[in-house]
Amino acid sequence: MAKMTYIEAARLAVAEEMRRDPLVWAVGEDLGRGGVFGQYKGLVDEFGPERISDAPISESCIMGAAVGAAMTGTRPIVEMRFSDFALCAVDELVNQAAKARFMFGGQTRVPIVVREPIGMWRSSAAQHSQSLEAWYAHIPGLVVAVPSTPADNRALLKAAIRCDDPVVFMEHKNLWPLEGEVPEGDDVGRFGKAGSCREGCDLTIVSWSAAVHTAMEAATALASEGIEVEVLDLKTLWPWDRDAVLASVERTGRLLVVHEAVAVAGFGAEIAATVAEHLHGALKAPIRRLGAPRIPISYAPVLEDEVRVTAGAVAAAARGLMGR
């Protein structure tokens, strides 16, 4: 075990995989100077500018070229800088990367990792703060990863780089400085395997990405009130660990889904709907979802906070479900 930050863990994963496989390379704006958040810092020194490649401000071509390069035997890591800018490359991701293998009847594969940092990051406003993970979960052909800890960031990023499917890899910008233990050795993550952050018999909270930490904060507070919450971190949304969620809710009889994204048509709806479909009768309380209201994200802190799902709100919702 080594202590490192979420961003260091990502850097480590890229370095390890690039050492292991000479066909892995990364491309994006400013990567030679470490990338906009320093996610690639120092990597150009080890791997050179061909494999840690700068790019013009051409999101469509960064994504589209990665598709072609993946079809031609390399494994590109695509850096989109902010998930918001990936909206300049949706055709390339959704119409091309996600569909090529199927549409060409299995003649090709598109092993790309699309890194799209998500989420609110103080006063980044409406065009630099979005969390659109639900979109990509809806698209056949894509894998969607949303790690919440340094260990998962390393393990899942390694898994993503080794995966033959296009993976949308969403790191949360607020988590970059988060410290945590990261296992030594070649720890490669598994898609579709939730983590249990905390066990409890009263209520299941399902969450992912930065919201997991909010959920844990709420769970700690609730424990002191005698409410024992089980917190599941999905880690990936496609596939998502349906079995773990159903098993937990079957035990607790109560479900609260917590995410940062807009609640309406967010991925929380998929989880809530699935549980409602499968555990009708086993539920002791209505399912609840907590997400953002359907408003763009503001610049002013006081307004930005208005869309935030806080630990206080989570705890209040949990109490509600417990009838307190």
């Binding site: 790019a55 051409s58 071509c61 589209g64 060409f104």
Partner: protein
């Protein structure tokens, strides 16, 4: 076309051009069969014939190795066949049958044969340009000496990927030849009406990609120019070829093209690239009977492909769930 066919005279590589003539006939007959199949409701999706543009496909692809790569558009039958694909597997794909190149999952607009380096037609105009740049990027990273050819139409130059992909190729000095087939139309619109400035070649030049222009209905001219440009491109000097041609059919097989006059089209038929080539070969001494026989052979080959495709089974339903992705269960339906 060359005004005086005999000008190619005895320097003409007879074998080469006879083969190319045959290839053009095969493409023509394939598409005629496909149009018939569409009329007969055997091909259900839209098809975009390249009738009148065969010389570009054959002239360019004739200079490629099997391990070289091409990317194509919605109008991709000619490119695909010229790169070496099998018309029966193509026809089956258009018919949506088992044994089609993509098991019937793609159809005409996504025709592809990765074995011969044909990395796909594309339903999104211009999208192939970035993908092609990426394929060339991979070739460079891997230190190979393959080359990529990216075909697209005159309409595609108004989409962002045209700029982004050409700039990319220039910045990274990639082994790629861009071939713009200027057939005058973008669907039902005359492209020039929606294009500002000097057109495809001027834009390419401004992006640092040296551009040449060729008569797209003159196979010999295309062949010679493509050879040089592909040589250049293979060295990591991206190049651009503008081929001026004409779409003799409607945009799709269903388009009667009422937006242009019959006279215009009739006039253009006088410049049919296949007839042009035939004239040159005859002038160079190839007997007309031999050429007619080649055209007939192409016709019966495609008739057989049509019939064989029509007699082929549908793909197994299970294939609907195959090749989606490794991770996650594609059958997941909410229930």
């Amino acid at each position: 076309m060359t005004d005086d066919p005999s000008s190619y005279g005895s320097n003409l590589n007879m074998e080469r051009y006879r083969a190319h003539y045959g290839q053009m006939c095969r493409i023509r007959e394939f598409e005629k069969a496909a149009i018939t199949a569409a009329q007969n409701k055997l091909v259900l999706g839209a098809i975009h014939p390249s009738i009148g543009q065969e010389a570009v496909a054959v002239g360019v692809c004739g200079n490629l190795r099997r391990d070289d790569i091409i990317l194509s558009t919605h109008r991709g039958h000619g490119h695909t066949m010229a790169k070496g694909a099998d018309p029966l597997a193509m026809m089956r794909e258009l018919f949506g049958r088992a044994g089609g190149y993509s098991q019937g999952k793609g159809g005409s607009m996504h025709i592809a044969d990765f074995e011969v380096g044909m990395l796909g037609a594309n339903g999104v105009v211009g999208a192939n340009i970035n993908i092609a740049a990426g394929a060339a990027h991979a070739i460079k990273l891997r230190g190979e000496d393959r080359v990529v050819v990216c075909f697209f139409g005159d309409g595609a130059i108004n989409r962002g990927p045209f700029l982004e992909g050409l700039n990319w190729a220039g910045v990274f000095r990639l082994p790629i030849l861009f071939v713009c087939e200027d057939n005058g139309f973008a669907a039902t619109t005359r492209t020039h009406a929606m294009t500002s400035g000097g057109g495809p070649a001027a834009r390419a030049e401004a992006m640092g990609i040296a551009a040449d222009t060729v008569d797209g209905n003159d196979l010999v001219a295309i062949d010679e120019m493509a050879r040089d440009l592909i040589d250049e491109a293979r060295q990591g000097r991206p190049r651009f070829l503008l081929a001026r041609t004409y779409r003799l059919t409607g945009h799709t097989s269903a388009d009667t093209a009422p937006y242009r006059s019959e006279e215009e089209v009739e006039l253009r038929w006088l410049n049919d690239p296949i007839t042009n080539m035939r004239r040159i070969l005859e002038a160079a001494g190839v007997p007309g009977t031999q050429l007619t026989a080649m055209a007939e052979a192409a016709k019966s080959e495609m008739k057989r492909a049509y019939e064989a495709a029509a007699a082929t089974d549908w793909p197994s339903r299970e294939l609907a769930y195959a090749d989606v992705q490794d991770i996650g269960d594609p059958r997941e339906r909410a229930f």
